[in-house]
């Protein structure tokens, strides 16, 4: 009971402290909030990068050229072989018959002349084709798929743009490297800035810390209100930051929408879920408590109070 009421009192005191000098607190809170916002934005983007890959990047297509004289049965056999594969590798596939192929060819301006020549010759050289849209940039599992299909005897040739697949793999690696760099950087920034703000504030409350200790306060008595003070500050800052991250996502999404021609329709960043927000806030708060602990210890040491 006593402990709970002491916690409650510390909490109330912390609220009081924050509202006593709202302007000064605002600056500290803003400082912390902006850094959390930046880190939060990076996290949101990271979280979205996988979806982004899935929906918006074209993973390599595999084109299966069937032999000249295949029938419906052969096609079904190939389809059955494809269906055996994992949906992690294969997104979907599409059969394009000889006739459709020629038709497609005629749509292409550069080639229409050739196509019409060919069409007029009444001898359609375009083969039946199965196109597989894959679902991964992982060239290893793709190559396995290609090898399997090549062995089917109604298949004439299998083509995969491996180079493209490699490019995608590299690009994904590149983006996630940059994102990881940013995450680490901003985490370090967050740690430095929060610790520094907390430390400077504890320094300003040095007298309180030392006097309390001199007249018999235990470490936990001294740290409790300071920890609540930091928790409140950081929570407010974090709430503000989550709101700003939301704004950021909305802003970016608006840009994406107005640029849908560039990115396609499906490409919208997803917000943090409430749970993720709590996770971010919680992590920062825990770090804040730790910072208070360190800073207070440091004040003790600095002032030589036994």
């Amino acid at each position: 009971m006593k402990t709970i009421s002491m916690h409650f009192r510390s909490f109330i005191l912390a609220i009081y402290d924050i509202f006593k000098n709202p302007f000064e607190q605002l600056l500290n809170i803003l400082t912390i909030a902006v850094i959390i916002t930046v880190l939060g934005s990076v996290l949101v983007i990271s979280k979205n990068i996988y979806n982004l890959q899935k929906n918006n990047m074209n993973f390599p297509q595999i084109v299966i050229y069937l032999k000249d004289n295949v029938g419906q049965n052969d096609i079904s056999a190939v389809e059955a072989a494809i269906n055996k594969f994992n949906s992690k590798v294969i997104k979907n596939y599409q059969f394009i018959s000889k006739a459709e192929g020629l038709n497609e060819l005629e749509k292409d301006k550069e080639l229409k002349q050739i196509a019409s020549d060919v069409a007029s010759s009444n001898n359609n050289p375009v083969p039946d084709v199965l196109i597989i849209n894959t679902n991964t940039p992982d060239s290893h599992s793709l190559q396995m798929l290609v090898n399997k299909i090549s062995k089917l005897n109604m298949v004439d040739d299998v083509q995969m743009d491996v180079n493209y697949a490699n490019k995608i793999t590299n690009l994904v690696g590149f983006i996630s490297k940059i994102l990881r760099l940013l995450q680490v950087t901003f985490s370090i920034i967050l740690i430095i800035v929060i610790y520094n703000v907390i430390r400077l504030q504890m320094l300003l409350r040095q007298d309180e810390i030392i006097v309390s200790r001199l007249i018999g306060a235990s470490d936990s008595f001294i740290m409790r209100p300071l920890a609540y003070y930091a928790i409140l500050q950081i929570t407010i800052a974090s709430a503000l930051a989550m709101y700003l991250v939301n704004l950021f996502v909305i802003y970016i999404n608006n840009m994406f929408i107005s640029l849908s021609s560039l990115f396609g329709d499906g490409f919208l960043l997803k917000q943090f879920s409430p749970i993720q927000m709590l996770q971010v806030t919680g992590t920062v708060v825990i770090f804040g408590i730790f910072a208070v602990f360190l800073a207070v210890r440091w004040v003790f040491r600095k002032s030589y109070v036994a």
């Binding site: 002491m6 007298d207 309180e208 200790r213 001199l214 007249i215 018999g216 306060a217 008595f221």
Partner: protein, 217 residues
């Protein structure tokens, strides 16, 4: 009971503030610690309160050897001491009431009891009309009295007063000494340092004279 047995206190820079000092103070005694500026009075008081540790020798407070205690124990001992600091150590970010209540909060008193006790302590030093005032709005003597109120509010077993009347006029000084006398009668051990033996005159109590960190004449 407080015992100093061949106590030395050396500060960094080879400054010996207390040298081979032995004395003992009985439980419930009222003792004056007199000495010139820099004699070592404050050092001795801080040693008793455990905010400094002796370089050599033994200090016992209520039967506990201060060199052998840990932080928790030190905290516990401090809670039973009232310390009037020479440099006041008032917290300027809170009003008179909040400054005084700190000593009770540390001990976990209830809100109601805090209110009664703090009001009583503040009244006893004559600051009742300044109870909600911020410390920087107090005169020097008023600040000193605030510091006294904080030291006595939790009715400590030992009261240590470092020049408690330096900033007070005769009237107020006498009032404070009356207060100490009252505590003394209630069985509290009291040690008062003073550079000026005049204020002690009519008490006729024991005086420990310090000269250059040693027992003096």
């Amino acid at each position: 009971m407080i015992v100093f047995d061949q106590v030395y206190k050396k500060y960094p820079g080879n400054i010996t503030a207390v040298e081979n000092l032995s004395f003992s103070i009985e439980r419930g005694e009222l003792v004056f610690l007199a000495g010139h500026s820099g004699a070592g009075k404050s050092t001795i008081l801080k040693l008793i309160a455990g905010s400094l540790t002796a370089s050599d020798g033994m200090i016992m407070v209520n039967g506990i050897d201060l060199s052998k205690i840990n932080q928790n124990h030190r905290t516990f001992i401090r809670q039973h001491i009232g310390f009037i600091f020479q440099d006041h150590k008032i917290l300027f970010d809170r009003n008179v009431f909040a400054n005084v209540r700190l000593a009770l909060d540390i001990l976990g008193y209830s809100e109601k009891e805090v209110k009664t006790r703090v009001t009583k302590a503040i009244t006893s030093v004559g600051l009742e009309h300044k109870i909600n005032v911020m410390p920087q709005e107090l005169s020097g003597g008023e600040q000193q009295r605030l510091c006294i109120a904080r030291a006595v509010v939790h009715r400590p077993k030992i009261l240590i007063a470092d020049e408690p009347t330096a900033n007070l006029d005769r009237g107020n000084a006498l009032r404070i000494l009356e207060l100490f006398k009252m505590f003394h009668k209630a069985g509290v051990t009291i040690i008062i340092s003073a550079h000026d033996e005049n204020i002690l005159g009519d008490y006729g109590k024991r005086i420990i004279r310090i000269n250059q960190g040693q027992l003096g004449s």
